[in-house]
């Protein structure tokens, strides 16, 4: 099962406005392809050309080498099934009747559905988990259930190619991944070629293994996630700055769109704060200060650390040290320099190990020089101290004048005692 789809120089013009402009790509049989692209990039138009709803104004779509337009309606429906974003269901067909409609392309006029068709309907409903709804009216189902019924109908069509046009756009996260997992299963177990237009790139990356990125009716990139989903491509096709990272739990490529605050509204550029980095635990503190538009610096962290990514993402200076080592003397100097140029140093609730001890000692150095030092969640330090030596060191810091704070909210109150009014005045 599975067909090659070869799209050659496809053009589609809507009211003299080109929607598809020489679109070209090849989908091999058995591919599991996500079609990405901004609104208006031509995803739906492309899929509607492939599913023969629209007639291209130019170019070719070849199914295993033969022209798609040459097929009869029924022949095409035996090869391709489509799951649209939404199906009008304002009538009283039962779920079973809807799924049975998937057999339409196989039945001759006046031919009764046979046992074989009924078995297939039953199997399709089991596969998509809608058997218990068989005798319910489609109109009475929720959006998620309805979409699974449509999926069952597509399965019942026994297609070689399954086309999904933003099938998850109206679904909750549970149904989203359930539906895409189903498509992936059809691909894996039955060799069905799947092409799906998906808005949510991070969702797509979890379920698909090939990607086609459309931009302005052309294919901007095609290939594996790493080749297609890059900051440059996203910037070019979606027009937003973005950065990529690995999902901390699944390790797949993920994308995050940068937030750009209007600098004029909150300008605290003169407030330089240095935050001791290390792990995800520092992130809430960093983000809070970032929202206040402080001029942050971070360090010292390893290159793979989330605090490091945060600093890179926002363009803050950061001290990067090789992982699993103690700091070299150059790094140490650099770090001291950063701390000295800041008005205050913050130790967020990070874990402490042998590697951090030197850092804590350096904080002590600048504290003695009169730098303001804030320690967040002092009580929690003992629990996060894996070296057994950091807790006494930090207690010493407090003894020498460092300020202990309960949480990062208190930190804001201390750094911006009249912050809110100041913000209001400036805006």
């Amino acid at each position: 099962m599975g067909l090659n789809i070869d799209v050659q120089g496809l053009k589609f013009t809507y009211d003299a406005h080109p929607v598809l402009d020489a679109t070209e790509f090849v989908v091999q049989h058995g591919d599991l392809v996500a079609l990405l692209g901004a609104n208006g990039a031509g995803k739906s138009t492309l899929l509607r050309c492939i599913s023969r709803i629209l007639k291209p104004t130019g170019g070719h779509i070849l199914l295993d080498g033969s022209e798609l337009q040459q097929l009869s309606s029924k022949e095409a429906a035996r090869l391709m099934a489509v799951v649209p974003q939404e199906t009008a269901a304002d009538f009283d067909f039962t779920v079973e009747e809807i799924v049975m409609m998937g057999r339409f392309p196989y039945l001759k006029r006046f031919q009764k559905e046979e046992q074989q068709d009924r078995d297939l309907v039953k199997w399709s409903m089991e596969m998509t988990g809608v058997s218990h709804l068989a005798h319910r009216s489609i109109a009475a189902l929720s959006g998620g259930e309805k979409q699974r019924v449509i999926m069952a109908r597509a399965v019942c069509q026994q297609p070689e190619v399954l086309i999904l046009d933003e099938p998850t756009a109206n679904l909750d996260i549970g149904y989203q991944s359930m539906l895409l997992e189903l498509a992936a299963r059809l691909n894996r177990d039955y060799g069905v070629t799947v092409i799906a237009a998906i808005h949510d790139i991070n969702l797509a990356v979890h379920h698909f293994n090939r990607f086609i990125l459309l931009s302005g009716g052309r294919v901007l990139a095609t290939g594996r996630a790493e080749e297609v989903i890059t900051a440059e491509n996203i910037q070019m096709s979606y027009g937003v700055p973005a950065s990529t990272y690995r999902h901390p739990l699944h390790g797949v490529l993920q994308i995050s769109v940068a937030r750009r605050q209007p600098r004029g509204v909150c300008n605290n550029d003169e407030r330089a704060i240095h935050v001791i980095g290390g792990g995800e635990e520092a992130l809430p503190t960093l983000e809070l200060l970032n929202q206040k538009c402080c001029r942050l610096s971070v360090g010292p962290v390893s290159a793979q650390d989330s605090s490091c990514r945060f600093a890179h993402f926002n363009g803050f200076p950061v001290i990067i040290v090789p992982p699993f080592t103690t700091m070299s003397s150059e790094h140490r100097e650099e770090h001291l320099k950063l701390m000295r140029s800041a008005e205050a140093v913050v130790i967020p609730p990070i874990p402490f190990g042998e590697g951090n001890l030197a850092v804590v000692a350096e904080v002590g150095t600048v504290l003695k020089e009169g730098k303001a030092v804030y320690i967040i969640d002092l009580e929690g330090v003992e629990g996060r101290d894996y070296s057994g030596k950091a807790f006494p060191l930090i207690q010493n810091l407090v003894g020498e004048g460092a300020v202990a704070l309960k949480n990062s909210g208190e930190l804001l109150k201390v750094i911006f005692p009249d912050g809110d009014e100041e913000d209001e005045r400036k805006s």
Binding site: R48, S51, R52, I53, S72, S73, K74, E75, A76, A77, R78, M80, A81, V82, P84, T87, A88, A89, D90, F91, D92, F93, T94, E97, I98, M101, G102, F104, P105, L107, R109, F110, H135, R136, S137, A139, A140, L141, Q157
Partner: protein, 359 residues
């Protein structure tokens, strides 16, 4: 949904039962309509006359029946009852097709303007006083038939975008053309002078003066239209899910639309030309069938045909006997009975199950 299991249990036999009931109802209305009238004929006499009329059988009891009864039944009542059956089922089937095709519960057989086209044709024929006849038909039915079909063709070509005919455009074009033609009909009616009552009477719809000739011409049209429509009932089911979905399932939507339009239009034009504009049968009957048996057109089409026939026979019988020996236009009766019935269904079910209330 505690009743779900129970519902499933009776669902299997519900449709056959309903169909049997509809056939029985049709039989019952046929007989009743032949019994009742300005002159009542006993049911024994009716069977005697009917069996005797069969070419292969001569009833020995025929000598007991008054010959005038025989003439009333065979020459007046029987053609009228049969014409009512054919017109009623044509309108109901056309209504079901248009509602399905337009996915619009308000569609009726006249939705794309066939009635106003036919009315214009009929009014022109009446006011023009043409004496032309063709195949035993006067100018009025001929003009009405031509007017109805011409309107369908005009609406269809107006709605065409390239090779496709979007149903929504078709509906809108139908409404616009219909409004324009109705205005023309009103204008002509205004100048109708002494022929006014003739025009008004025609437009109310009626089966008075039905002849075997009308029945014999109507039946091929009805049969052709009905076959045409029922050939494509599975396609019509798919079309209910939307044209794109139907196309994904392998329906050649443009072709199916064209065939269904032509089939349903033939049914309507033939019905209108023989009996004027009879409202409500085509609107109410398909809705009623859907309420009982769901939207599957493979069942809906034949069931609507049976129920439409029974309904028009029954209402026409009423039209004949309410103020006998004079009679009312049947269109008034169908509207008087159909509208409250429709509202009752609407209130009782809260929704017409066809369009499930956007669920």
């Amino acid at each position: 949904m505690g009743t779900e299991a129970k519902k499933t249990g009776i669902a299997g036999i519900k449709k056959p039962l309903f169909m049997v009931a509809l056939v029985a109802l049709l039989f019952f209305s046929l007989i009743t309509a032949m019994i009742w009238g300005a002159v009542a004929i006993g049911w024994r006499s009716i069977f005697t006359i009917l069996f005797d009329a069969l070419p292969v059988y001569d009833s020995p009891a025929i000598t007991d029946v008054t010959p005038v009864y025989r003439d009333i039944l065979l020459q007046i009542r029987l053609p009228r009852v049969l014409l009512a059956a054919v017109v009623g089922s044509s309108l109901a089937v056309a209504g079901a097709v248009f509602q399905g095709l337009f996915r619009n519960p308000m569609a009726d057989p006249y939705v794309i303007g066939i009635s106003s086209g036919a009315a214009l044709g009929a009014v022109i024929a009446m006011l023009g006083g043409f004496s032309l006849t063709l195949g035993g038909f006067g100018a009025v039915p001929l003009f009405a038939f031509a007017g109805g079909l011409t309107t369908m063709i005009i609406v269809y070509s107006m709605a065409r975008v390239g090779r496709a005919v979007p149903v929504m455009t078709l509906l809108l074009a139908g409404i616009a053309v219909s409004a324009f033609l109705s205005a023309l009909v009103s204008l002509l009616t205004y100048f109708a002078g002494e022929r006014l009552h003739m025009v008004v009477f025609w437009m109310m719809g009626g089966l008075g003066g039905a002849t075997w000739r009308q029945v014999s011409v109507m039946i091929p049209y009805a049969l052709a239209g009905y076959l045409c429509v029922s050939f494509f009932s599975r396609e019509l089911n798919a079309m209910l899910l939307g044209e794109e979905t139907a196309s994904h399932l392998g329906v050649n939507t443009e072709k199916v639309k064209k065939i269904l339009l032509v089939g349903a239009s033939l049914l309507v034009a033939a019905a209108v030309s023989t009996s004027g504009i009879i409202g409500f049968v085509g609107l109410v009957v398909p809705h009623f069938v859907r309420l009982v048996a769901g939207p599957d057109h493979r069942f809906l089409i034949p069931a609507s045909a049976l129920l439409g026939a029974s309904l028009l026979i029954a209402t026409d019988t009423l039209a004949r006997i309410v103020i006998a020996p004079s009679e009312l236009p049947v269109g008034i009766i169908t509207a008087l009975i159909g509208a409250p019935l429709f509202i009752y269904l609407l209130k009782k079910r809260r929704k017409l199950r066809y369009f499930g209330g956007g669920g």
